[in-house]
Symmetry: C2
Subunit: 277 residues, 2 copies
DNA sequence: CGAATCTTTGAACTGAGTCAATTAAAGTGG
DNA sequence: CCACTTTAATTGACTCAGTTCAAAGATTCG
């Protein structure tokens, strides 16, 4: 119960930007720890105790940075609605996108190591997060095992995400990377009960490009190529997967894997010719 | 205390490979939770209680796989001595290296999400790990807050590592990636009290290449280039950083970051000419 | 000492980065 | 509500860094 009480009353010191009354800023709602457990993928851990633990929600306007890089960890956040990109900025000011977060994903976990966030979280659209004040969260998790499990679960899931992102990048060709990205995105949408076919990308091509470590023009070209092959249809940021099986077949070919002798690696090229009418 | 007792007596069912008496297999030693806390970077949390919690250590022979992909989570492991590579294998059998673990790093954390490991851990040399049986660990962490903090800390650190790995890959040129890799490796060695200048790489060029998402020949060439520029000296897997400042200056140039108008990106090329005598 | 693996180097080809220019979309302000 | 600005997206042309293929040393290990 401490969690919700401490937040609204005496928060303000750190965030600084705090304009109550505006559509974009705090504008707080509430939910329970049970909601959080359900959204995070642990519905079976919701209980009377977690029902009794109220939590605050916070609105985050599009483009707004919820978590700043190098900021000390004040809280972790669970995405209730909307979406975010997680980024790292290097010395030269290049913004590297580490991944995207949607409903049920936790933000800020990488700060648990040294209590400083090593990546930022920026809202891609008007979004809502559940605020989990960090020190209080740790304290509570000692008393409420479900909360502890939540943290572990979320950390594990986040690590898997990052592993998967690296898998996307490991693909040889840009076309394969984009194909994998779309399939992964569809997969995640499905897990949230959305359509597996019709995707609405909330991020720019540039963000996707950064995440896949290619130039943004290349993402554009890859999408065009996939359209030409009949895998997908694209209208701005709306992507429809018209031929999932074909798209699946493109996410092969990994580069640098001349294992043994017999490696049929002409897939991409072959498919291209086969389908250019 | 349950931790150590459960492990040796009634483990055996899953690992299957179990040949007591051989140099390579279990051959167990012991340590305390305090040791683990210290090694993991949380010395301040060591206490009388953690002193009283004995844990088993296990030897892992070079090349041996400690954690298998898709295996259900039996335990987490802390690297006490030696080193590991963490890998993911895709459908085509291509082994993608996600990162390397040395003394103080935790293995198996990404399994906390769904209790199945999503990456494997393979010893690069004869190594020793502390075994932290998972269900027992969770149980104990409810009673011993320090253990809980350990898990959170380790998860945070691991996430940072993966973020850093992506930073390595985000570099435009292979030379930059390798430079960053060496500097990062030196950094980690330093944190463990080893020399910051003299590195002994335990992994093959191929492993490094996989981790950096380039061909192994390219790693070779990049190293040769760095030697030619006087940054480093290389003898097999021993690398000496002869000019840290120069090496630092090479880890710039990020690609895809044509921010604003004035972006001086000729660094790599310029430096090459300037130093080819 | 030979087999296997790792590492380096060479040569040729190509995918993707870069630059550039056009079009489309989304804000902005009068 | 419409001109105006700004940002996003697409497409083309050119170039080159890095992959691929090949082959020769070096190192490790049985």
């Amino acid at each position: 119960m401490q969690l919700a009480q401490t937040t609204p009353a005496r928060t303000t010191p750190a965030p600084a930007i705090h304009a109550p009354g505006l559509l974009s800023e705090p504008v707080i709602g509430r939910c329970t720890a049970s909601d959080v457990l359900r959204w995070a993928g642990l519905p079976q851990l919701a209980s009377a105790e977690s029902d009794a633990l109220p939590l605050w929600q916070r609105r985050v306007a599009a483009e707004q940075t919820l978590v700043h890089e190098d900021q000390s960890v004040q809280a972790l956040y669970l995405v209730a609605a909307g979406s975010f990109k997680c980024t790292q900025t290097d010395l030269e000011g290049y913004e590297q996108v580490l991944g995207f977060a949607i409903h049920g994903d936790m933000l800020g976990l990488d700060g648990m190591g040294d209590l400083h966030h090593s990546s930022a979280a920026v809202a891609l659209e008007d979004s809502t997060v559940v605020v989990l004040p960090y020190p209080e969260l740790l304290q509570m998790s000692q008393q409420l095992p479900a909360l502890n499990a939540l943290l572990h679960h979320a950390a594990g899931v986040e690590l898997q995400h990052r592993g998967h992102t690296q898998y996307l990048i490991s693909a040889a060709s840009a076309e394969v990377r984009v194909a994998r990205f779309l399939l992964h995105f569809a997969q995640r949408q499905l897990a949230q009960g959305h359509s597996q076919r019709r995707l609405h990308l909330r991020m720019t091509r540039r963000d996707i490009a950064s995440c896949l470590c290619v130039a943004h023009e290349t993402v554009s070209r890859a999408l065009t190529a996939l359209v030409a092959q009949g895998c997908i249809r694209v209208c701005n940021r709306d992507v429809e997967i018209t031929d999932p099986a074909l798209l699946q077949s493109m996410q092969r070919v990994t580069r640098g894997a001349p294992r043994r002798k017999g490696h049929a690696q002409g897939t991409a090229g072959t498919a291209r010719f086969a389908l250019t009418q």
